[in-house]
């Protein structure tokens, strides 16, 4: 196994590392040269080449110098422990990345789902609300609530129904100027009181 001898440059090239990396590994005692030439050049034997391949493999799975040093001097159970710890680390990292991926997908969906493909047009939307039992008065209350709760989303939603900008503006002004809850209950402040309001007879205006 010790017949072939490599210089730093030749060995570095053979495993795709730089010369300075090998010099660094020598300096920290991770991979000392097998021999020195008469002129003090570093010479590496086959065993050093095999050791360097192993080091490169461990680096490739994200292990640090300290762990690699421990692995190279370790046997059996200790090796498995270090590698298992790294595997756990990778699994946590993957789970974290998956969660980030999921959140990003969700954010993109929320952002674009209505803009990219219009969910419904105005006529269909009104049909569904009517079928559920909402009359004109209740639909007006719905606009008022939407405008008060989330004006930007109200705007986005109306756009998604394909309603022209001028009509949207009219609807939103109408939603602010004539809150139906004030019309029916002049003394009650415009507040979000779902329990109080929903306790009124829901069908009273129908």
């Amino acid at each position: 196994m010790t017949t072939a001898l490599y210089t730093v440059g030749v060995l570095a090239r053979s495993v795709g590392l730089t010369r300075s990396t090998l010099l660094y590994y020598d300096r920290i005692g991770l991979l000392p040269p097998s021999h020195r030439s008469a002129t003090r050049y570093r010479l590496y034997g086959e065993d050093a080449r095999v050791r360097l391949e192993t080091i490169r493999t461990y680096r490739g799975v994200g292990l640090g110098i300290t762990e690699i040093r421990a692995l190279l001097g370790a046997h059996g159970g200790r090796t498995a422990t270090i590698l298992s710890a790294r595997l756990d680390g990778l699994n946590h990292e993957i789970a974290r990345l998956r969660e980030q991926q999921r959140i990003i997908v969700q954010l993109l969906k929320n952002r674009t789902v209505l803009k990219r493909a219009r969910a419904l047009d105005k006529r269909k939307w009104v049909q569904i609300l009517s079928a559920a039992g909402l009359d004109e008065e209740a639909m007006h209350r719905w606009h008022v609530e939407f405008e008060a709760l989330a004006p930007e989303s109200h705007q986005d939603f109306l756009e998604s129904l394909g309603i022209p900008a001028s009509e949207i503006a009219t609807i939103r002004v109408w939603s602010r100027a004539h809150p139906s809850s004030q019309a029916t209950e002049p003394s009650s402040p415009r507040r979000r009181r779902p329990t109080a309001r929903s306790s009124r007879p829901a069908g009273g205006t129908r």
Binding site: A117, L120, P194, R197, S198
Partner: protein, 68 residues
């Protein structure tokens, strides 16, 4: 949608405020699902409802009688 200021819960509350009870909301889902299933799905996704819940809501909407 530039923001997600409310999700499903706020939407449900908004419907309650304007006078929809549970039965009416069930009917609303049923109408939405039977008339325009793809749009129903898109709408629920926009509200931020998780995919598994979307499947559950839609299958239950298909089974809900329109006028119980």
């Amino acid at each position: 949608m530039t923001k997600q200021p409310f999700g499903k819960d706020a939407w449900v509350e908004m419907f309650r405020v304007v006078g929809l009870d549970e039965a009416m909301m069930g009917r609303w889902h049923h109408e939405f699902e039977t008339r325009w299933p793809a749009e129903h799905e898109k709408f629920l996704a926009w509200l931020g409802v998780p995919e598994t819940d979307i499947g559950r809501i839609r299958s239950s909407a298909r089974g809900t009688a329109p006028h119980p």
